[in-house]
């Protein structure tokens, strides 16, 4: 009884603070009450087993209920828990699907891999045809534009988005850790940031990457602005969505919407900020609170309001229109020097030394 009381105190003290943290910026009036410890699974509870402590279980069937009436960690919960020596967790306790019943990676060829199409007889055969290893990408970007894909820094193709900005693309890949980059030019030839995703590719399987939201483009006519001036900030994004403009690490957030062609523009009153250098960036928001999905941020743009400033220099060190391995090799040539006669300077941030800062800027601007 005493224990139950403690749980109730815990719940009443913990739930409001959780709700506040999780829904910053959105009003939420949902309130639920449940009693943990009555052996009844109430709303908001996953289980209710007095006496169980929620310790890690290697099986779904053996999972333990925690003191908060939630299941403790277990192999098969779909959450990778390396602290419990899980190498993978595909949400089940099956062998032969590349992730074993005990959440260890199964080597390629060791399992049946779900095997489609039974077909042909074939006696035994020790090797199983695993089929192609493919990454399938589904997402949204700027309408009727070419969406470009980089796999491990190398361009692997492009596809044209439809009039709603939707696109789908598939590419062969090697199993192992892969980094997929996606970028596009908007209708005014402004380049988006490259949206990167790093994940593991399973051999002989189709890895689906869903819900990609290409960050919007962002442009301003001039980066040097007089204090108090109103400036027009514009760009392109996913059509008919909310667009947030964040100023200085989200200290100020302005909002607008994109039109049917994905275009957006916003007039920003610079009297809202101090005379200094400021940074603006934008992101797309889809859905209504509390169920919203945000894209990652666009390229950051510096605004020099009432102060002298110089925008970042080009990372395209050989002036061929791309930032790739060639520019990296030129940067390496001038490494730890002042950049010598390089033009544009290999010392991209002009701090007098070609170093990791310049390397980082070059990687940011990478086009492949």
């Amino acid at each position: 009884m005493n224990k139950l009381g403690l749980f109730l105190i815990f719940l009443f003290s913990a739930v409001p603070s959780f709700t506040q943290a999780a829904t910053i910026g959105y009003a939420s009036t949902t309130l639920t009450l449940s009693i943990c410890g009555n052996m009844l699974v109430d709303d908001g509870e996953e289980c209710d087993v007095p006496g169980e402590t929620g310790v890690y279980s290697q099986t779904i069937i053996g999972r333990q209920c925690s003191a908060q009436c939630l299941f403790g960690p277990y192999c098969g919960d779909g959450i990778l828990q390396t602290i419990h020596t899980e190498e993978c967790d595909d949400g089940n306790n099956d062998n032969g699907d590349f992730c074993s019943a005990t959440c260890k990676i199964e080597p390629a060829g060791s399992g049946g891999g779900g095997s489609s199409g039974g077909g042909s007889s074939g006696s035994g055969g020790s090797t199983v045809d695993l089929g192609d290893t493919i990454i399938n990408i589904i997402g949204r970007g700027y309408p009727s534009q070419t969406i470009n894909f980089l796999l491990d820094t190398v361009s692997v193709g492009s596809v044209r988005s439809d009039s709603s900005g939707d696109f789908e693309f598939a590419t062969d890949a090697s199993p192992g850790t892969a980094t997929l980059g996606i970028w596009a030019n908007d209708s005014d030839s402004n380049r988006s940031i490259t949206l990167n995703s790093t994940f593991d590719v399973t051999q002989g399987a189709v890895t689906n990457l869903n819900g990609i939201l290409l960050p919007p483009t962002l442009t301003v006519l001039s980066q040097n602005i007089n204090p108090g001036d109103q400036i027009t900030i514009s760009g392109e994004g996913v059509p008919n969505t909310t667009l947030e403009l964040h100023i200085d690490d989200s200290v100020i957030i302005e909002e607008t919407t994109t039109d049917e062609e994905g275009k957006w523009s916003l007039i920003f009153d610079t009297s809202k900020v101090t005379v200094a250098e400021h940074i603006i960036r934008a992101r797309t928001v889809i859905g209504s609170p509390p169920l919203t999905t945000e894209s990652t941020f666009s390229t950051s743009v510096q605004l020099f309001i009432g102060v002298e400033g110089q925008a970042s220099l080009s990372s395209d060190l050989n002036r061929d229109g791309f930032v790739n391995l060639i520019d990296f090799s030129i940067l390496i040539f001038w490494w730890q020097t002042d950049g010598g006669t390089s033009d544009p300077p290999a010392d991209i941030n002009l701090n007098g030394r070609v170093s990791l800062e310049d390397f980082s800027i070059l990687l940011f601007n990478w086009t492949g």
């Binding site: 779909g78 990778l80 390396t82 602290i83 190498e87 993978c88 967790d89 595909d90 590349f98 992730c99 990676i105 080597p107 980089l150 491990d152 820094t153 090697s174 199993p175 192992g176 850790t177 980094t179 980059g181 940031i193 490259t194 990167n196 995703s197 790093t198 994940f199 593991d200 990457l209 990652t296 941020f297 390229t299 950051s300 970042s312 050989n318 391995l325 060639i326 990296f328 090799s329 030129i330 390496i332 040539f333 001038w334 490494w335 010598g340 390089s342 033009d343 991209i348 941030n349 990791l356 800062e357 310049d358 390397f359 980082s360 800027i361 990687l363 940011f364 601007n365 990478w366 492949g368």
Partner: protein
Amino acid sequence: MKRFSALFLFAVFVLVSLPTVTSAASLYIDPGMSSLNRGDSISMKVRLDTDEEAGECVNAADVVLTYSDNIEPVDISIGSSIFNMWVEKPTINKVDRTITFAGGIPNGYCGRVIGDPRLSNILTEIIFRSPGFTVGGSDSTTAVIEFTDASTAYLNDGRGTKAKLTTFGSLIELSSLPSNIPINPWKEQVTADDIPPEEFSILLQKDEKAFSRKWYIIFNTSDKQTGIDHYEVIEEPLAQFGSFKWGRADAPWLVQRSPYILNDQSLNSVIRVKAIDKAGNEYIATIIPDETNRSYSTNQILTVFVSASSVLILLTIIFLLYRLYRSRKMTAVSNEGKEGEINTEDDDTQNQDYTQTNNEVNDYDQHI
């Protein structure tokens, strides 16, 4: 008991301060705690986490690790690294007991993709071994691997901003007992790797400012199993004039790294680059320079000069011999003409001489 409590405190420290609860990028070693029998090996993964809530992406890092003198690093793998570009490949300095590397990922690493079956955030994998038997040195039963303050990470923000960074080292409990069956996961991994490095191509370049305006090549690939060990380059002479080849036909493979300035600046060579992984699997990429870029090499000029000189000398000799022959013939003809005139005048004298000679022969016969 004292050792145990130290271990316990460290465990508590590691568990409490796991990277998942930090609000900055973090570098950590996985596993944070482990134990090793004498002679056994362990793979320690250096991992990177970003502050996903803040939308933080990291694109470069410079890492310096130190390790205790009672443990020995034996190899380093970048096979599962999220870094594609290396300014400094991982290097072990056994004198200073440091491991250093600096690299990056174009467009940044932005955290775990939901549903990724593995934790794809490895920067490098270091294989440590507990010495079988040691003479002298530290007799401590715990080994520590930790990051130095020189370790830095850079945000993917296009300005080369240093990320706020927290680091978490690793503690290994060393047993004085040898294991019954030596454990060496790295050896197993290397033995199992029969997949060559990823396909790649060679870029032939010349820059107006860098590399002393010389032709150079760029190459880069990855191996997603044990990782690239090194690259080798060969410049094979192009066949000319049938079977004749310029330069050395037995040109050796040279261990090189990208960018590589070509020895044969005339581009009359087939250039091959061999990528070799830790298991010895290799992939060879080849480039034959375009004819329009080729020029005459020193060898070519020398050979043409020698050939032309030889032909010239031969022609001169033939000409001189001919002249000599002609001159002699002319002399002979001229002499014959003169002799004809003399003969008509001195016929009697010649007949007398002939008679005298015949008499001398007769005297000799008689004497015999």
